[in-house]
Symmetry: C2
C-alpha cells in the first residue's frame, strides 16, 4: 500500500499528522530512538514497546558488518531479529562512511571498515540492497553529507552527488516492486538557502514517499540551521513526511516542529543517559553529582515515566557512580520517555495552538 | 515476630519448607540472587520481581563504601533504596575483607579498602550495626573463612574465632531488640568432619534464627564439600533454615538440597550471564559461539522464561558480540530464571519423591 499522511492540525507551518503505511500508523511529531546495532543501546525491545516508541532507526553501517545483512535477512529482518513489530527506518550507512575519510567518486564511496580494516564500497544501489535485506519499512537514500562550515564548492558537490545518487537509488528501489516499503530522499545544501531550495526541488522532482533534511546539526549554529530548515521545508510537498536527520535536543526539536518537521532521530537522549546526563523539566543535570546523594525524589518530578515513578535520584546516582549497567539503562529509559513525551506535548500544542509556550519553556530550560 | 519454618515435605534429609518472617514468606529450597551494590548486576528491581526472586543478598562490604550505610539507612534501607519489597539478606562483609590479606586479631579485622585505600576495622558488633543500617531482614554474623586447602591450625583458628565472634555478634544483635529482624550464625570447620561438628554445636549453642554453612566451595572438590556439608547438617536443628553460602552451580545446588540445605546464594548465574555463558537443559554453552550465528531458537527450548519466549540465540549472540549491555542483562535474566526454576523443580521433586532424577539429570548435564 501507498504511504499516506493525514494532516490533522496545523499551527503556522507546524503540523500534527498521522502517517499510514503497510506496517501501521505513526502519529507525528515523532521522535525515533536510534537502535544502532539491532537494539537501542542499553535497552531491549520490550522497553521500546513500553515507552510507546513508534519507529526505531537502524544503522545500516553497523549491521552491515555485525551480524551482516544476510543473517538479519534470514532471521526476518530487523523486525524478526529483534522481535520488534513497530516501524523500522534505516539510514543508508553514508553518514558513518563519510566520517571515515573515504574515497568518493560519482559512482559511490570506498572506505575502510572500522570492524575489520578491509576496504568496502557503498553505492546508491548497494545501500538499497542492504536496507532491503534489513527489512526496513523506510529506507534512506545514500547521500553526501559535508560537515559545516564547508566551502561552497564542497556543498555544491554534495548537492550534485546527492541528486545523482538519489535518482539511481530511486530506480533501484522501484525495481524491487515492494508495495510495503518506502524510500525517502534527502535534501542537502548546507546553510545556503538557494542551494537548499535547489536540492529540495531536485529531490522532489525524483519523487519519494518522504523527505529527509540532511546536512544540518553538523557544526552550524542553531539560527543558521533553522533558516536552512525553513528554506527547505517551503519547497517540500505537504503530503509527504519530513524528517530532520540527527536532531534530538529539546530546543532543536520544538523549533523544528514549529517549522513543520514531522520526524526526528538522534542519539542525544540515549548517549546522555549512558553518561548520567538527565533531561528534565528542571533542565539538564548529571545524576552523578554529589548533591543528589541523599535525594529521595525522582529524576524529574513532572515525569510520568516508569523510572521516575519508582527510583530515587539517590539510588540512580549510586548505581551510576559504581558503574552498574542498570544506571545506563534506567537513565536511557527516562531520557527516551522524556523526549517522546516532548514530541507528544508538541503534538497536543499544535492542536491547541499553544506551541509557542512549549518553545518558550524549552528555550528557558535548555538554551 | 519470630522466624518460623514449616517443613512441608521431606525426602531423606531433603526438605521443602516455608519460612515465615515479619517480611512475609519464603518457600524453599530457595536461590538468592546476589545484589552486590544495591542491585543485581545488569538487572533492576522490577526484573527480580518478575523472576519471582524471594530473597536478594546484599554485600555489606560494597555498600559500606558506596554509598555508605548512612545514605542507605536514610533512604529506607536496601528495601527503600532499591524499592524492593521482598526479603533482604546481607552478608557480614567478612568474606570480601578476608580476601584483602587483612590483619586479624581476636577483636576484629583491619583492612585496606579497595575503594579508597584507607584502613578500616570490622568487628562482630560493627558488622551488626552496618547490617542494621542497611535494613536487612536477615543478617549474617562476622566469621573467619579460610580458603581450602588450609593447614589444620588455620581451620581450627577460624572455628575458634568464628565462635568467639558469633557470641559477641549475637549479644549486639539481641541488644537491638528488633523483633522483625533475624540473625544467622555461621558454621566453619573446613572439610574436617570433627571440626564441622564442633563448630555446628558451638554455633547452635549460642542460638540463632538460622544457620549459614560457610567455608565451603572455596577450593575443595565436590565430594569433600558434600561430606563436610552432611556432617554439619546432622548437627543443625530441624526447625531452623540452613543456608549454604556461595554455592550456586546446578550440581552443587541439587546435591546440597539432597542433604537438607534450604537456601543458596552465588554469583555464578549472574557472572556467567555477563560473560555469555548460558545455563540450559542442554548443559552449559557460550552464546558468543559462531555456531549460533543463524540459530533462530531460544537459549533453552525447555525454559519458560521471558528471554527464551522472545529472543533467539542468533540475536543474543549478536548483542553479546557487539558488547551491547542488553546482552549481559538478558543472559543474566535467563540464567537467574533457570536457576530459580531449578530450585522450584527440586522443591516439587522433594514433594514427589523424584529428587534422584533431578540429581541424575544435573550430573549428566553439568559434571
Amino acid at each position: 500500500m501507498t504511504l499516506s499522511i493525514e494532516v490533522e492540525a496545523t499551527h503556522g507551518p507546524a503540523r500534527a499528522t498521522t502517517i499510514t503505511t503497510a506496517r501501521g500508523t505513526v502519529t507525528t511529531p515523532c521522535f525515533m530512538p536510534v537502535g544502532t546495532r539491532g537494539t537501542v543501546r542499553a535497552v531491549e525491545t520490550e522497553d521500546l514497546e513500553r515507552l510507546g516508541a513508534q519507529i526505531v532507526l537502524g544503522n545500516t553501517y553497523h549491521l552491515l558488518f555485525r551480524p551482516g545483512p544476510g543473517t538479519v535477512e534470514r532471521l526476518g529482518g530487523i523486525h524478526g531479529f529483534a522481535d520488534w513489530s513497530g516501524h523500522v527506518l534505516t539510514d543508508s550507512g553514508g553518514y558513518q562512511v563519510f566520517s571515515l575519510s573515504p574515497k568518493v567518486d560519482d559512482d559511490g564511496v570506498t572506505f575502510r571498515s572500522t570492524y575489520d580494516g578491509d576496504e568496502y564500497r557503498l553505492t546508491p544501489e548497494g545501500a538499497v540492497a542492504v536496507q532491503t535485506a534489513l527489512g526496513a519499512d523506510i529506507q534512506m537514500v545514500l547521500d553526501q553529507c559535508p560537515p559545516l562550515p564547508s566551502p561552497d564548492p564542497v556543498v555544491r558537490e554534495a548537492v550534485e552527488r546527492t541528486a545523482l545518487w538519489a535518482a539511481r537509488a530511486r530506480r533501484a528501489f522501484v525495481d524491487l516492486g515492494a508495495d510495503d516499503r518506502y524510500q525517502f530522499g534527502i535534501v542537502q545544501g548546507g546553510v545556503d538557502a538557494a542551494m537548499r531550495v535547489e536540492s529540495a526541488q531536485r529531490t522532489t522532482d525524483i519523487g519519494f514517499e518522504g523527505y529527509g533534511i540532511g546536512g544540518l546539526s553538523v557544526g552550524e549554529d542553531r539560527d543558521a540551521m533553522l533558516a536552512a530548515l525553513a528554506a527547505t521545508i517551503a519547497h517540500l510537498p505537504e503530503d509527504r513526511p519530513r524528517y530532520l536527520m540527527g536532531v534530538g535536543d529539546p530546543v532543536g526539536i520544538v523549533e523544528a516542529i514549529a517549522l513543520g518537521v514531522d520526524l526526528f532521530d538522534c542519539v542525544l537522549p540515549t548517549r546522555f543517559g549512558r553518561h548520567g546526563t538527565i533531561l528534565s523539566s528542571e533542565g539538564r543535570f548529571n545524576i552523578k553529582n554529589r548533591r543528589f546523594a541523599d535525594d529521595a525524589g525522582p529524576l524529574d518530578p513532572m515525569c510520568p515515566c516508569r523510572v521516575c515513578q519508582r527510583y530515587s535520584r539517590a539510588y540512580l546516582r549510586h548505581l551510576a557512580n559504581v558503574h552498574e549497567p542498570t544506571a545506563a539503562r534506567l537513565s536511557t529509559l527516562h531520557n527516551l520517555a522524556w523526549t517522546l513525551r516532548l514530541t507528544e506535548r508538541a503534538r497536543e500544542a499544535v492542536r491547541d495552538g499553544t506551541l509557542e509556550s512549549v518553545r518558550t519553556e524549552m528555550r528557558a530550560l535548555y538554551d
